[in-house]
């Protein structure tokens, strides 16, 4: 059989940080993947480390989810804990954010899609964003960049958009031109020139790797990184350097 080069991971697929990792029950999915299974999946991939959290905080109980994430990941240096708050109960956010900050958590993930898709100008959403930005937390933000991007602008916020689709790249680039803290994951930048366009127009510092493990295949995303027509330095920034900068 002729070997297909793409069938075997190459060094250009190595990812030092994946910002989009979850574990735990997900009712709509055909099966659940616990932490051990997620770690096993990552161990068999080109991903070295991840930013992860329990799905409990997203779907059921933010405070309990945060506690579980911190407890579960305490012994796992390959996974750094991410916190969350529930956008349906913004009044509970303040003590939870203080607790996360006290625990040294640097990333806060928001689940707008799972929590009623709040209007960007709704009081609860704005309150959570203001509290998070004031504490210097990096937002890992789902949803449509066209919807939430403008509400997050002009705050000096550090934001990673987790769901940027290639179809809406122009909107992201318009925002990123004036927002140095706006970044997006490459997960859905699937056109042959999407990653390249970001690098050429606003720079590789605006991209990070986020696979949404365990719900998405990893190889499509590492292959896109491998075959992107960008420099080795830009690839390294996307594959982990930019996250390391945020952690520094």
């Amino acid at each position: 059989m002729t070997a297909y080069p793409w069938l075997t991971p190459s060094p250009e697929e190595h990812v030092r940080f994946d910002v989009d990792v979850l574990y735990g029950p997900w009712p709509r999915h055909p099966y659940d993947l616990d932490l051990a299974a997620v770690r096993d999946r990552l161990a068999h991939s080109p991903v070295e480390r991840g930013l992860a959290l329990s799905t409990r905080g997203a779907l059921f109980d933010a405070a309990a989810g945060n506690a579980q994430t911190l407890k579960d990941l305490a012994g796992h240096p390959d996974l750094l804990p991410v916190g969350t708050v529930d956008l349906r109960d913004a009044l509970a956010a303040e003590p939870q954010l203080d607790a996360l900050a006290a625990a040294g958590v640097r990333f806060l993930r928001l689940f707008t899609a799972e929590q009623g898709a709040p209007e960007p100008d709704s009081p609860g959403y704005r309150h959570v964003v203001e509290l998070a930005v004031a504490r210097g937390l990096v937002l890992l933000h789902d949803g449509d960049v066209r919807r939430y991007g403008p509400a997050l602008a002009d705050r000096g916020a550090q934001v990673v958009f987790l769901d940027l689709h290639a179809y809406f790249l122009a909107d992201f680039l318009l925002l990123a031109r004036r927002e140095p803290g706006f970044r997006a994951t490459t997960r859905m930048l699937s056109a042959p020139d999407s990653v390249e366009r970001v690098v050429e127009s606003v720079g590789a510092r605006h991209l990070v790797f986020g696979s949404r493990t365990p719900f998405m295949d990893i190889s499509p995303q590492t292959l896109r990184l491998r075959y992107a027509r960008i420099s080795a330095a830009d690839r390294a920034a996307i594959a982990g350097g930019n996250v390391e900068e945020l952690l520094a």
Binding site: M1, P5, W6, H165, S190, A191, P192, D193
Partner: protein, 246 residues
């Protein structure tokens, strides 16, 4: 070992990307080792089926590694039937393509039934854009159309579980999993549901989507070498009657 891509496009798209031109099709095919690609014209898919198909006829005349799908607009069935014959007569078109979103016709609509009947008579495979739970209607719709083979494009999109069960229930359906959002476990789910490897096809959505996305799905599906051969080219060669040198 060759690769046949059964779901690709030629032409521009109205997004922030520059992917028009058959040269890019070929450049990406070379990069990933794709030998043959079956394309539809983006103009035909999104705007003018007859006009887009005519433009593709000209392109195919000069590109031996590309084959064509004639786009059928289910809202203009007589016109599309005549245009399909024009395309097939060139010898460079091997099937039909129907999108559901752009013509605004769901799989269960009367117009789609009429289109399916026309294609059953024409005797060529159909690449159908599927995106949603109405993919589950396909086995019932094909019950009286024994000749029509449908490639379930995108394998139902977000309704990939429903698409898997539909394909398991009907041997006239072939699953093709290209999609930007590469949900994990789709291929394994389909196989567990009862879809044989002989009815899995490789498609990319290139040049709208970089082929490496679909190749990554294949890599993560952990096929055996024999299964890989089936999925990457042999099933497509048999379905379309395409000549491929091993």
């Amino acid at each position: 070992m060759p690769i046949i891509d059964v779901h690709a496009h030629w032409g521009p798209w109205p997004f922030h990307m520059d992917v028009a031109g058959a040269r890019l099709n070929l450049e990406l095919m070379d990069r990933y080792g794709i030998d043959l690609q079956v394309v539809s014209a983006s103009e035909a898919v999104t705007y003018d089926a007859v006009g887009g198909n005519a433009a593709l006829r000209e392109v195919l005349a000069g590109e031996p590694r590309l084959r064509g799908y004639a786009v059928v607009n289910p809202n203009r069935i007589e016109e599309s039937a005549a245009d399909l014959r024009r395309c097939l007569d060139t010898g460079r078109f091997v099937g039909a393509k129907i999108h559901t979103t752009y013509p605004g016709r769901a799989i269960g609509s009367p117009q789609m039934r009429e289109a399916f009947a026309m294609l059953d008579e024409a005797g060529v495979p159909l690449l159908l854009h599927t995106w949603g739970t109405d993919v589950a209607l396909l086995p019932g719709l094909l019950a009286d159309l024994p000749r029509l083979r449908i490639i379930v494009g995108h394998a139902g999109g977000d309704a990939w579980q429903e698409a898997a069960h539909a394909a398991a229930d009907c041997d006239q359906l072939y699953l093709e999993h290209c999609r930007t959002v590469a949900d994990a476990g789709r291929v394994a789910y389909a196989r567990k549901a009862g879809v044989p490897v002989e009815r899995l096809l490789f498609g990319t959505d290139s040049t709208l989507v970089d082929p490496c996305v679909a190749l990554g799905v294949v890599r993560d599906a952990d096929f055996t070498p024999a299964e890989l051969e089936r999925v990457l080219w042999r099933n497509a060669a048999e379905l379309f009657g395409l000549p491929v040198s091993e």
